[in-house]
């Protein structure tokens, strides 16, 4: 499908969804004449208008052969999805597993995913890398990165 047509339709969908959300905003008596929903509605109209122009314009243009590019683009998007999954798993699991372990896992899996081979050097790099990250963020910068369930577990084992 034509890229601009897709862009236009996506923009139109976003504009409609945003407009509906904007009409749900309660104005209240503290509101000014424009109101909290005033500019959002205008934005939605603008985006809708631009999207429509973009989409309609494609209908009058000659179709451009892009098939060769699209196959590699699908491939690229699939590859990119892997990194998103790794990052999403990190966000979901780090409150339980804790920062040091998860960041080591991120380094290892991302390196493997990008074409590294499962090997001792890779494992060592992940562990040392995680240690370095912990040192910089938790020790030097005093960021309270998630500790995971471990402290509680240890406390329970003691009790």
């Amino acid at each position: 499908m034509n890229r601009d047509l897709v862009t236009g339709l996506m923009g139109l969908a976003l504009a409609i969804a945003y407009y509906l959300a904007a009409s749900n905003i309660a104005a209240g008596q503290l509101a000014d004449d424009v109101g909290p929903d005033g500019l959002p509605r205008i934005y939605a109209w603008l985006l809708g208008g631009f999207s429509l122009v973009l989409a309609v314009r494609t209908l009058f243009q000659k179709a451009v052969a892009t098939s060769a590019g699209e196959v590699s683009e699908v491939y690229a998007a699939k590859r990119a999805l892997g990194i998103i999954v790794i990052a999403a798993v990190y966000v979901a699991a780090v409150p339980f597993v804790g920062y040091p372990l998860m960041i080591a896992a991120v380094i290892a899996t991302a390196a493997l995913y990008q074409g590294g081979r499962l090997s001792w050097p890779l494992a060592l790099t992940s562990v040392l890398g995680a240690a370095a990250f912990w040192y910089v963020f938790v020790y030097l910068l005093h960021i309270a990165q998630p500790e995971g369930i471990w402290p509680e577990l240890i406390e329970r084992m003691r009790a």
């Binding site: 309660a26 008596q29 005093h142």
Partner: protein
């Protein structure tokens, strides 16, 4: 956590002091915790943050406990309230209360609200004052109201749904004038607009406008509290000037539910003592704070009443349903 590092060098010295103190105050029961975390939703340098950090050294001396301040920013207090509601009620963690935590609870669906916390004690009132540019024609609050009656007033509050906004809206209703109430993103932005005369008046905490006041660029027209304040005895309250609006911006502490009476008693004694401390008194007076100790048995009802008023105001203005 950053704070702990800051306190580490002081700990040694404090330890010695603590020993000496415990030896003296044998009658008072020992506090159950060695280190107490004081949480605030304000970021470093913000109102509550400064309140806690300046109180901590003196409180340490008085209560013989180590304190650390932790900034739990995010969601205008939503996050800090959630953390506190889940904390153990062992006297190890408290939360600095301001009207903000009530506004946030009322205006958004937070995981925990002020109702999930136990109001502990109040410490200060932070006086709200109405001010104008030093070169403006307004000399009293009455001038401002008269101007707004004849023309159209331009009044500024620092934040959209805040105690300050509420005060101005009440002032508008009480006097029946036409005034545009304009809100900003913080007190600094609003001050500029008072200074360049875009606005007739602004409202804010005394501590906030102190630099401009001392530079002689602003003039305080009215105190929006029940009484005149020590720092500027010549400035009348709004009520004295015929505008029946008064507000109490409180600064106190809240605890997790289920905190023991012993801990509460220790705080009641400690806060009263620290407020009387001469060195600390000098500091908080300079910052424009008024000592306003409210014991635990009265603080719960105080907060509840404040919340009721606020809710009524927000509902009347249909900000919330």
């Amino acid at each position: 956590m950053r704070v702990q590092k800051f306190f580490r060098p002081v700990l040694g010295a404090l330890f010695c002091l603590t020993l000496a103190h415990v030896a003296h105050a044998q009658t008072a029961p020992k506090y159950p915790k060695e280190t107490v975390l004081l949480a605030t939703h304000s970021s470093p340098g913000g109102g509550s943050d400064v309140f806690l950090r300046e109180m901590v050294p003196h409180l340490t001396r008085v209560m013989g406990v180590n304190f650390a301040v932790e900034n739990i920013s995010g969601g205008s207090g939503a996050k800090a309230m959630a953390v506190l509601a889940k904390a153990k009620p062992d006297g190890g963690m408290f939360y600095a209360t301001t009207p903000t935590f009530i506004y946030t609870s009322l205006m958004s669906k937070t995981d925990a609200t002020f109702r999930d916390l136990e109001p502990l004690v109040n410490v200060f009132y932070d006086p709200e004052v109405v001010y104008t540019a030093a070169d403006s024609k307004f000399q009293t609050l009455k001038d401002v109201i008269d101007h707004a009656k004849a023309n159209r007033g331009k009044w500024g509050a620092a934040n959209p749904a805040s105690l300050e906004r509420q005060v101005l809206e009440r002032m508008k209703t009480a006097t029946g004038v036409r005034a545009a109430v304009v809100t900003f993103e913080g007190g600094g932005d609003m001050q500029i607009n008072v200074l360049n005369r875009t606005l007739d008046i602004g409202i804010g905490e005394l501590g906030e406008i102190k630099p401009q006041l001392e530079a002689g660029k602003l003039r305080v027209l009215a105190i929006m509290g029940d009484n005149r304040i020590e720092q500027m005895p010549d400035v009348p309250t709004a009520r004295e000037q015929g505008v029946d609006v008064s507000v109490r911006k409180f600064r106190g502490l809240a605890a997790p539910k289920g905190t023991s009476p012993e801990v509460i008693a220790a705080w009641e004694a400690g806060v009263q003592k620290v407020l009387a401390d001469p060195t600390y008194k000098k500091i908080y007076t300079e910052n424009g704070l008024q000592p306003a100790f409210i014991p635990h048995k009265d603080y719960g009802p105080f907060i509840a009443e404040f919340a009721r008023d606020t809710e009524a105001f927000l509902k009347a203005a249909s900000v919330i349903k």
